[in-house]
Structures are given as C-alpha cells and as structure tokens.
C-alpha cells in the first residue's frame, strides 16, 4: 500500500531519517515506535508527502506519492490540529466542501462519523476551546475520515491526553480501526499503546529501523541491545497486552 524505499531526510547536514526501507501492508495497523527524535514523525510525514525526502522515494500503491494520493490519506496530529476559529462541524466539512461535495452529503458523513467515534452531537457546534482534549481528538479523527480515505496516518494522536481519557480513546480507536478495516499508520513513543493497537510494530532508533515485527517478537527475540532496553524500560506493561 505504502512504501518508503531508501528514504533519507536531511536537515542541513544532519540526517533526521534513514536510510530507511519500510512497507505498510493493507488493512493493517502499523505502529512507528521509538524515543523522541528517532525520526518516526519524519517518516510519517514523508509517507504523506508533506516533506520531500532528500534521497529515495515514497510509493503509494506502487506509484510515487502525489497530491491525488494524499487526498486518499487521512492525517491526525498530536493535539488534533483543529482550526481554533471554526466550530467542530466547520472543521469537519471544510475539506469536503473544498472538493466539491454537497453540504448535505458532508453533513450526513458528519452524523455517521460522530456515531462511529461516539462524539456527542451537541458538541458539533462548539469551538475547539469549548471541547475537552478527548473530544478534540475525536473531532480530529472524524476530520481525517471525512473523505473516506484508504489510509489513516496518526502522529501521537493520544500524546496530549490524561491517562484515563487516553485509555478510553485507545480502546475506541482499536474498535474503529477494526470496524473500518483501513490501513493505519500510527506514531507513538508508548510501547503499551503500540502493543495494544498495532498489528505490526516498527521500532526506530536514530532514524533507522531497529526491529520490525509483532510485539512478541520484540519482547522475546530483541534484535539488538537497544530493543531489549527499550522493551524492558516498559516492563510495567501487563504481559497479556497485544494478544
């Protein structure tokens, strides 16, 4: 579905990412995991074509990523990235209207998605500042799904939330991912979240892939000392997670 091939991204002379080769499989949830500054967000942006790699190429269904392809991907950033001057509803319909979808159709999609994400209907006409952190994140998720994209890319979508809200939203997200059957790429630094949500975990270190596989592979057969330390730093994770 999505593929990074020999991608390197440099800022000045420092390499922020790569070289990296990564394939994202269809209808699967892939989690990019790693400590801050490991290049996981950069990899996500490259997948979406928001940044241009210094070297290598990004393929979307075998073709180089294009604007048209980008429209088939939904994107959610850490704090939701809602436009603060627009109501939740206006945030949701701005993109459909931009692409010529009738307002009634867009509104119907809003109803459908607020059902799916259990977002309260009376919150639709509130401004982001009037919503809780969890609600804002649900709106951001809805917005990324408005055009029914094939791929959903999420950058630390739960990073700014308190633990209880976070736990709620994690389980909601897993249900949503399963019911939609979409290809999902999610960035997090939290191993438990990765284990809970991801079918496949890609652990990154200094711009490169340290190990990719199921949570159990990382736990039971760490490919390097870094992987072992990263997993053991999260030893409070209940071992049943990810099953």
């Amino acid at each position: 579905m999505l593929e990074l091939r020999g991608v390197i991204k440099r800022y000045g002379t420092t390499a922020a990412l790569g070289p990296i080769d990564l394939r994202v499989d269809e209808a699967n949830t892939t989690v990019l995991l790693g400590p801050s500054g490991c290049g996981k967000s950069t990899a996500l942006r490259a997948m979406l074509g928001l940044i241009k790699p210094s070297e290598g190429e990004v393929l979307f269904e075998g073709e180089p990523i294009s604007r048209e392809a980008r429209r088939r991907a939904g994107y959610v950033i850490q704090d939701g990235g809602l436009f603060p001057h627009l109501t939740a509803r206006a945030n949701l319909i701005i993109q459909p209207l931009e692409f010529g979808i009738a307002r009634a159709e867009a509104e119907a999609r809003v109803s459908e998605l607020s059902e799916l994400t259990s977002f309260p209907r009376d919150g639709l006409d509130r401004y982001p500042a009037e919503l809780s952190g969890g609600q804002r994140q649900r709106v951001a998720l809805m917005r990324s799904l408005m055009l029914d994209p094939d791929v959903l890319l999420m950058d630390e979508p739960l990073g700014a939330l308190d633990p209880v809200t976070r736990a709620d939203l994690q389980s909601d997200l897993r249900d949503i991912f399963r019911s939609l059957g979409k290809t999902v790429v999610l960035v997090t630094h939290d191993l438990a979240e990765a284990a809970y949500l991801g079918d496949r975990i890609v652990l990154m270190e200094r711009g490169e892939i340290a190990q990719a596989g199921r949570f159990e592979d990382l736990r039971d057969a760490p490919a390097s000392d870094f992987v072992r330390r990263f997993v053991s730093a999260h030893r409070s994770v209940p071992m049943g997670a990810g099953s």
Partner: protein, 489 residues
C-alpha cells in the same frame, strides 16, 4: 456620502477665484482684503487661510490649485527663485513669467526681516546693531525653520557678520515670541510689521552691514487671470494702498485685540470706499461640525484606502519572504519621513487641498496594517499549516477561511493603531488647506488663543477615543468567536 460631498466641494471651489494665505496673521489679513476687493469687483472668491509656508503656496499657485496669494519680493527673489539667483525684482518677474505667473504692483508696505532681542537685554548688553551680537556667543537664538535653512536667512547672516552663537534652535515663529517673552530665548528673527515687536517690547537691531533685502508686499498670481478686466481693476485698487502703519495696526488689532482677520480687512477696505458684506455668523458648534466633517473625510478615505492596500500587501509579504522584508522596510522608511516633509513632497504631484493630505495619511497608515498582517500570518503555528497541507486545501480557501481569520486579531490591532495615528496626523492637513481639527489649532497657535487650540485638540482626542471604541466593536464582529474563547482543556 463623504465622497460625494468631497467631489461637490471640489467642483464648487473651481468656479470661484482661489486666494491662499500663509500661516501668519498678516498674510491672512491680506488674503481677506484681497477677497473683499475682488468681491467688490464682482469676482466670486474663496480664501483658503493659513496654508503652511512659501513652498506650499507657491506650488499650489504654479499647479493651478490656487489663483493668487500675498507674497514678498525678497522671498520671491531669494527663496522661490534662489536656484536661478535673479539679479533684481525685474529679473524675478521675467523668470516667473516663464512659469505662467505674474506679480502685482507692490501693495505699499515692506515687511523686512529683522533681528530682535528683548529691550531689557539689549540695554543690559548695549546691543544696538547686529554686529554687537559678535561679543555675546552665549545668547540663545530661535529662528523659524524656514529662516534657519534658507539662503537669505541664518546661514548668510552668520557668515556676513561672523556670528559665534551656536545655541540656535528651530522654532515656530509665534512660539518664538512667547519664548522671548518668557526669557527662554534671547534672539529671534522678526518681520518688521509684526505686532508682537511692541507687544513684547523687543528691539530690532540695526542691520549695519545691509544684509537683509527689501521685502515689499505684492500679490503673486497666475498670469492668465490678467485677461479678466475685473481682475486688473481689483489689482489696481490694491496697488500702493496699504502703508506700514496701517498694516501694523491691523496686525495688532487681530493679534492682541479681539478683532477677526475678516473684520480687520473689512475695516481697511472701507477706507477704499468698499463696503464689505456682513460677516456670516459662525458659531463655535458650526465650526466644530465643519472641522469634524473635514477631518472625517481625511481619516475615512485614507484609512479605507490603507486597509484595502495594506492587507493584501501584508499577505504578499508573508508569502514571499524576500519581498516581505523589502515591503516592510519600505513602509518603515515612509514612517520615518517627518509628516510635514511628506506633505511638502506631495505638493508638486498633487497640489494643495485634500489630495496630498489623504495621500500622506494613507502612506502613514500602511505600516501598522502591513506589519500586523504579516506578523499575524507569521504567528500561525506550523502545525496548522501542516494540517491545511494534509487536507490539501486550495490557496484561496486556506487564505480566506484559515489564515486571515487566524490573523484577524493582529490585523484588527494594526488597523486600530493606524486609525489613532491617522487621526492625530490629520491635524497637519490644515497646513495644505484640507481643514480638519488642525485648522483651529494652527490659528490658535498663531493668535496665542488657548480656546481655539482646544477647539481642535479636544474633538481630535475625542475622535481618537471614539475610533478606538468603534473599532473595538468592529473587532468583535471580525475576529471569530472561537479565537476569543479561553482554552480550558
């Protein structure tokens, strides 16, 4: 509606003969005398009082915005035509003729430059002549800015007499009298017909080396007017009609008596056998209403133009960073041009009246709006831009639905700043004849009348406050509600 009024005002003005006067009492009185004499000859005339200095009046006449104004032969020869340095007044006439201008027969009196000191100080230091000043380098001198700069003013005087004083400041002529009266200055230049010379008990020092030239009062006018018999008849009546004693008395009765320039002028023309029409009743409220309309015209038109131009310029500046610095630098440079200089720079292009004032105000109002538009757009977080990229919003949707609304608070603040500055600067419009609250302020400074100064200053301050308030309300309408909420999450 304002535009319609303005246009009507302009076309009406084109039919009457337009007389100008400089911003000192004698010039205003002469302007009124000229108006009354013209009217007695059946010429409808309009007097634009106390426009700034020589440069403004001369440019106005040369470009046809004015028809006639009182001038002095020395000023024509040594200042207006200084670069051609005509050898005589006849040579001046020939040079003016090439520019379509003409000079009347002298009106009868001279108003020469002189150097004056308070009589008490003159007695104490035994000052009789300008040469006597050489011995007293400590004296504090105040000259008006024009005299300070012009070739036949201070530079020439200093060189001829070898004057050693270095404490020389530029100060408004009327304020200089008050400074001498209060003992803050010792020496100033005077016009020999000034009523203040006796009022402040000054001694005019003898020009023992014959530095100052003759400044005979004349009328400078557009030569084409000579074709009208009535115009020639009016000039003939004025020729040689006013002597030094007469003008001195008229000046004093306006400056220190309660007489208006119009009534002093009417009293004078009565001696020529002309009965002036009764002065129309001019109530304070009526005047303030008129100034307010003029002021609002200046501010309203210049602000509207500035907003229409500055916001797009600010947007372009933020989209093209290289050009942005150039634009912001450019508007910043405009801001550093002194307002008076900017007005005078406009004169050759736009003449006098509302056009140069509105243009100057427009230029001054650009910077705060351009800069705040740019700053407001630059302050949009990169994550917001990234989301707009990810949603693949088009240029216009992005600009109109996302970026400008997010920058609206900053833009509104810029507009508010510009409006308050604009209302203040607009008082200078009076200098180029566009009226407004500056008109009574100028007159008040000239006549030392606090009540007239306040007649302009108080409404100007109230207008600035009202603009703040109204724009604050407008801001609530323009800035989206979502931006005014405090985030609680």
């Amino acid at each position: 509606m304002v535009v319609v009024l303005l246009v009507c005002g302009m076309s009406a003005a084109q039919e009457a003969l337009r007389i100008g006067s400089k911003k000192f009492t004698e010039s205003v009185i002469l302007g009124e005398i000229v108006r009354l004499v013209f009217e007695s000859e059946g010429i409808s005339a309009e007097h634009q009082r106390e426009l700034g200095g020589t440069r403004i009046l001369f440019s106005g006449t040369e470009t046809g915005q004015l028809d006639v104004y009182p001038e002095y032969t020395g000023t024509i020869r040594f200042e207006i035509l200084a670069t051609d340095s005509p050898a005589s007044d006849d040579a001046s006439r020939a040079l003016l003729a090439q520019r379509g201008l003409s000079v009347s027969t002298p009106l009868g009196f001279s108003n020469n430059y002189g150097i004056a000191v308070p009589r008490s100080l003159a007695d104490e230091l035994k000052l009789e002549t300008i040469s006597d000043l050489q011995e007293h380098p400590q004296l504090r001198i105040g000259f008006n800015h024009e005299f300070l700069e012009r070739a036949d003013g201070w530079p020439g005087l200093r060189d001829l007499y070898g004057l050693p004083q270095h404490r020389v400041v530029g100060i408004d002529h009327d304020l200089a009298y008050r400074a001498l009266g209060a003992g803050d200055l010792d020496v100033m230049e005077v016009y020999t017909t000034d009523a203040e010379i006796s009022y402040y008990d000054l001694r005019v020092l003898l020009d023992d080396r014959g530095y100052f030239n003759q400044y005979e009062a004349v009328l400078l006018y557009r030569a084409a007017l000579e074709e009208q018999p009535a115009f020639r008849a009016a000039l003939a009546r004025l020729a040689g009609s006013i002597d030094e004693a007469t003008i001195g008395e008229l000046n004093a009765s306006v400056k220190f008596g309660d007489e208006t320039e119009t009534s002093a002028a009417a009293r004078f023309v009565a001696t020529l056998g002309i009965e002036a029409a009764a002065e129309s009743e001019d109530t304070r409220l009526g005047r303030i209403a008129r100034y307010t309309l003029q002021h609002l015209t200046l501010v309203g038109l210049s602000m509207a133009a500035a907003i229409i131009v500055a916001i797009p310029v600010g947007v372009v500046a933020s989209k093209l960073p290289g050009l942005g610095w150039l634009v912001i630098g450019g508007t910043g440079v405009i801001q550093t041009i002194p307002s008076l200089a900017l007005l005078v720079l406009m004169l050759p292009l736009l003449g006098i009246g509302d056009a140069p004032a509105i243009s100057a105000l427009f230029l001054y109002s650009l910077l705060p709006i351009v800069r705040n538009t740019h700053a407001g757009l630059a302050a949009i977080p990169p994550s917001t831009e990234e989301v707009a990229d990810a949603l693949d919003l088009g240029f216009w949707t992005r600009l109109l639905r996302i970026e400008l609304p997010l920058a609206s608070r900053s833009i509104a603040a810029g507009v508010k700043t510009a409006a308050v500055l604009n209302i203040g600067f607009a008082t200078l419009g009076a200098i180029v004849g566009s009226g407004g609250y500056g008109a009574p302020i100028l007159t008040g400074i000239r006549l030392n009348r606090i009540d007239l100064i306040l007649e302009g200053a108080i409404p100007a301050a109230l207008l600035a406050l009202a603009a703040q308030g109204l724009l604050g309300l407008a801001e609530r309408a323009v800035v989206p509600r979502g931006l005014r909420l405090r985030r609680d999450g």
